[in-house]
């Protein structure tokens, strides 16, 4: 556990000593702010977050692979990977440490967006239950997205390739549910149950459903497991 925290701390500090943290914040908070301004300057603005979450989750989907793309690919490319992996550290500790570092940055960014419901509070009476449920969805989905990104970063020494693969995988999980609307049947249900979009949809409406919690936790666990296996398999090449 100590090793996990040591690695996580290094990653979090590295995000802030490189442009990465600032670029990610600028992108996420900038676009969120823009959408906030646009949506509240409409004729009949609603003083709640329901519209915001829809944009935020998609921005998360785009941002998460960017945050994670360098985590392992960069180390492989620069050669620091060898020194890290010859220390008395387990592969799973390396993956969890890096994941936790990325998750910390993600949570910091999401925390800053809390300004929006606070502003709403000043001008109206937002539904806090719904707001917090939405945030729970944003956090859970983000943690799953980051796990996918950690996995793709472990596959290559090229950050761009890691980012593209991560984005591709996430878009797949985002869009796969649409197949369910076309055909239906067993395959359609399967497509819907794989869909991150469907699972997030309930959170957005203010519903906490165990099946959706399980979906994101499983997604995160599965890809972290694959990432550990990916590091293990590298040792045997």
């Amino acid at each position: 556990m100590r090793n996990v925290l040591t690695i996580a701390q290094r990653e979090l500090v590295a995000y802030f000593t490189s442009p990465m943290a600032y670029v990610a914040m600028l992108f996420f908070l900038g676009v969120c702010g823009l959408i906030f301004v646009l949506s509240t300057s409409m004729q009949m603005p609603k003083a709640d977050m329901s519209g915001m979450f829809h944009s935020m989750i998609f921005l998360s989907l785009l941002m998460c692979p960017v945050i994670t793309m360098g985590l392992i690919a960069q180390e492989t490319n620069s050669g620091t990977y060898e020194m890290l992996m010859t220390r008395p550290v387990r592969d799973v500790e390396v993956i969890l440490g890096k994941y936790l570092g990325a998750a910390a940055l993600y949570l910091i960014i999401i925390l800053i967006t809390f300004e929006f419901p606070i502003i709403f509070e000043a001008f109206g009476a937002p539904d806090w239950g719904m707001t917090l449920t939405g945030y729970l969805g944003i956090v859970l989905a983000g943690l799953a997205f980051l796990a996918v990104g950690v996995f793709t970063s472990s596959l290559t020494s090229n950050q761009i390739a890691a980012w593209l693969m991560g984005t591709f995988l996430l878009l797949f999980f985002w869009l796969v549910g649409w197949l369910g609307y076309g055909g239906g049947g067993l395959l359609g249900d399967l497509a819907k149950s794989l869909s991150a979009y469907e699972s997030f949809g309930d959170f957005e409406k203010g519903i906490i459903d165990g099946k959706n919690l399980l979906y994101f936790i499983t997604l995160a666990g599965f890809f972290l497991f694959l990432a550990v296996r990916s590091l293990e398999s590298r040792r045997t090449v």
């Binding site: 100590r2 090793n3 040591t6 690695i7 290094r10 500090v13 590295a14 000593t17 490189s18 620069s78 050669g79 620091t80 060898e82 020194m83 890290l84 992996m85 010859t86 220390r87 008395p88 550290v89 387990r90 040792r235 045997t236 090449v237």
Partner: protein
């Protein structure tokens, strides 16, 4: 301290190292010597647990590097080839990170930090960002991180590569000072380096150990004759024939491209210099120079590594 038995590693069908075996005693400084591509780095990567061997076993301080990988890795301070460091970190910050992952406690880390910074000549650069350091200083940070947790075994892959002559000298001194307290294994393709820093060398070529002995024994063992060279003022065609008549002289050859210079081979264990000198002076050829030729490790190395190529 380091026990290697029949280590073999294949990259695809091609063996990088083949049946490599050797032992390193506690407190020894041993050089792993070989031309580029001989399998030195492969061997060190197996020892440090970075990759598994295809066959054979290796033990560090009694721990199998594959079966008890974490325990084995805990005993090692490793400087990989081209010590790659996190360029965005400061020296002290990086060392703290390295020490924590090596399992050092806060107090221990605090105590060792200044000592190691001092020893590696980094005290004044401790708060500099690694990316802004020169190649030589970065190499020192690499050595510092390998030394920080006071490991029993240090494995240094090409520790002086890319350094300027003064830095090379400093690093060699540093390595020498580690002998006794640490078991050091360093790889190099620079012969004088092995001769200067190590008591023993393991010569590896094309993935196989071709010789392992002390530097002194190796240079001695490889020569089957004593050689000397001399230089005369007046070159004479009769020089070889006249000298060959002396007792114990086996061969006399002129040195190519250097008129007046000759090499003389004599029976092993006898010093014929007085006889040779007397003969030259008697003939009035004008003796300018006479000295014994020591076979250098370089000659031994050349002989061993090219012989093998001829066989295969």
């Amino acid at each position: 301290m380091i026990e290697v038995e029949g280590l073999t590693k294949y990259y695809g069908p091609h063996p990088a190292i083949m049946d490599v075996s050797f032992n390193v005693q506690a407190g020894e400084v041993v050089a792993f010597l070989g031309p580029n591509g001989a399998g030195k780095t492969t061997c060190m990567r197996i020892l440090t647990g970075f990759m598994p061997a295809s066959a054979g076993s290796a033990k560090i301080a009694g721990f199998d590097v594959m079966e008890q990988s974490l325990e084995a890795r805990r005993q090692i301070g490793y400087l990989p080839e081209h010590a790659a460091l996190y360029r965005d970190m400061r020296v002290r910050q990086y060392l703290r990170f390295a020490g924590k992952l090596q399992g050092m406690g806060r107090v221990e880390l605090h105590d060792r930090m200044d000592l190691v910074l001092e020893k590696c000549g980094l005290a004044e650069r401790a708060d500099q960002i690694i990316g802004t350091l020169s190649r030589g200083y970065r190499q020192r940070v690499g050595i510092a991180q390998a030394l920080l947790h006071d490991p029993q075994v240090m494995i240094l892959d090409e520790p002086t590569i890319g350094l300027d002559p003064n830095q090379i000298r400093e690093v060699r001194e540093l390595i020498k000072s580690l002998a006794g307290n640490h078991t050091v294994m360093l790889s190099t393709h620079i012969l004088p380096e092995a001769q200067m820093t190590c008591e023993r060398v393991i010569i590896i070529n094309q993935g196989k150990v071709v010789a392992t002995d002390t530097t002194a024994a190796l240079t001695h063992q490889a020569r089957d004759a004593e050689t000397m060279m001399f230089r005369v003022a007046k070159d004479d065609a009769s020089i070889p024939t006249v000298l060959r008549e002396l007792a114990d002289v086996k061969a006399v050859r002129p040195v190519k491209g250097d008129p007046g210079a000759y090499q003389v081979e004599t029976q092993i264990g006898c010093d014929c210099r007085p006889d040779v000198a007397r003969a030259i002076v008697d003939k009035g050829w004008g003796l300018l120079e006479l000295r014994p030729l020591e076979m250098t490790l370089e000659d031994v190395f050349h002989e061993l590594t090219t012989e093998l190529e001829g066989e295969s």
